[in-house]
Symmetry: C2
Subunit: 331 residues, 2 copies
């Protein structure tokens, strides 16, 4: 094949994402230069954070995607041509390959993944979601056996791993989800101790029932009204990990947060974090995560969209909560 | 003297503090038992936190003052009778002696202070304010030379020391105050780099002028609208130390805080802290603070009320901002 398809962002996101924000282009497959290699992407990861990258906001943790350039995303693929000493044809690799069938790279930020690991698992566990969960939970959440953790977006790619790691560490784990099906999944399949359905439950009544002794760690993936209900139940010396605010990414005016009064009263620590600050620790984090996977502690499910172009509408699944499992696009 | 005066809290604080919340009682001077000693209090410290202790809120960092018991406060005094091995008659001591002329104690939480240190300085620098400033700034704020720090309540007992310590560490320091007189004092006498008058300045315009490159450390003593203006200017990896929220202590409904979105975008850390968690480190903190005092880095001024009863109205000075310097009561 001498050409490949790529998708550029051509308009900033306002409101809902859709095909009108993108253009599909045909490009010539490049020859790797010295120290470069070419990756044929098998699966692209779809992540809520991508919506933040599409707004044109220059005041965030990484620069926005520039209009007219390939939409940013992580993915997994195979090296198909190489003039790089460390990467050989046939290697399975993960990295920020973007919305395109082929990617030329110098290897910076690219990680090799054992070929025995299926590409879906490489994306769902050992790439962004698993690294984010591991860094956020252990690096900021400092979980201790016997404590109670609440995680929002609990059936999501990050939240589901956070909850399972915390269960393995001996915590009581409550997940916040948006459907009965997801509630059943995290309780029956993942072993969570309880679930709050933020769409149908009386949030305060349900939390009173599920966490009568308060909350020690809150792993925040969504924002929204649940944030205040959880915050009001944080125990002394509680830790809050702010990893995502999907409910507010496309809001004109972000909702206010809780009063800081409780931060003093309970001596809380609230910490924001994003993976780009920690990607240099990717291998260390993968090593931390691996034993949990080997012990069978980490289950995952995937929601696979078919074909590069399906990405353009796919992000809406995060806003509707319609994705069932780690969202990815098969190319 | 065979009797002494004490003031009990008899009603919980709602709205403004005043004499109707208290009763003055006459008590018999006790004889120290084995392992006890008697302190004649010279000065009582008046601190904004006291209002929090008076609300009857059982959900805070220390239990509320029980109705019918002596109002809680720290103070400095002299040992006048002792059957304790470590404390001798004539020792100058600081501790939580409460609103009373005499206090019997077993020495727990009591610190000796060199008699060469005037009692006003012992209270204004080496007791609660200085320890709070030192623990909060270094333990949570992690100041680095060249960074910018904003402190609210900057002319207050804690804020003035926070700012001076940060200046000594090589930071650019901006203080938030409530009068021109206080602004002049922190700039001309304490060496702050600038001041925001939250009562008269256009907060956003003034901050744009004073911190064009954003804020790395925010030391929060007050709450109020300035909180949001400062928050919106926090730099990446900024630290926020939440030490006091005086503007909200007596509010029916605490004001909402800022959206957590920026916590992610800027990977902020927000940490609440109160000194009772750290009082076991009092001597270590005093040792950390002493060289700054010896170098002349720490100036202070006192606002002295006369006589035990003056405490009952004195707390209002915090709400009006009318105190000029560390507020204390001379007994």
């Amino acid at each position: 094949m001498s050409t490949y398809k790529a998708i550029n962002l051509v308009r900033h996101l306002k409101g809902k994402p859709g095909p009108e924000l993108f253009e599909v282009v045909e490009k010539t497959v490049p020859e790797p230069g010295d120290g470069e290699f070419l990756v044929k992407q098998a699966f692209m990861s779809m992540d809520p954070a991508m919506m933040g990258w599409m707004t044109g906001d220059t005041d965030s943790y990484i620069p926005p995607v520039e209009l007219g350039t390939v939409m940013r995303s992580s993915g997994v693929g195979e090296v198909v041509a190489s003039r790089h000493a460390d990467f050989a044809v046939g290697d399975q690799v993960t990295g920020m390959f973007g919305w395109q069938e082929m990617a030329l790279t110098d290897g910076k930020g690219i990680n090799k993944v054992d070929k025995k690991i299926p590409p879906e698992m490489a994306l769902a566990v050992f790439a962004l979601p698993g690294l984010t969960a591991t860094q956020g939970l252990f690096g900021c959440g400092h979980p201790k056996s016997g404590e109670t953790l609440v995680v929002s977006g609990a059936a999501g790619s990050v939240g589901s791993i956070v909850g399972q790691l915390a269960k393995a560490e001996g915590l009581r784990v409550i997940g916040v989800v948006g459907s009965q099906e997801k509630a059943d999944w995290i309780i029956n399949e993942l072993g969570f101790d309880g679930a709050v359905n933020y769409k149908t439950d009386d949030l305060n009544a349900k939390l009173d029932e599920l966490v009568p002794n308060g909350i020690d760690v809150y792993f925040e993936n969504t924002g929204g009204p649940i944030q205040h209900c959880v915050f009001d139940r944080m125990n002394a010396h509680g830790r809050i990990v702010v990893c995502g605010m999907i409910a507010d990414y496309t809001a004109e005016t972000p909702r206010p947060g809780p009063s800081w009064m409780r931060i003093i009263k309970k001596r809380l620590t609230i910490q924001g974090f994003t993976m780009p600050d920690h990607m240099h620790k990717a291998q260390e984090l993968q090593a931390k995560l691996a034993p949990y996977v080997q012990n069978g502690d980490i289950k995952y499910r995937t929601h696979v969209l078919d074909g590069l172009e399906s990405a353009m509408d796919g992000l809406n699944l995060f806003l509707s909560g319609g994705n069932k499992g780690k969202l990815m696009v098969k190319i």
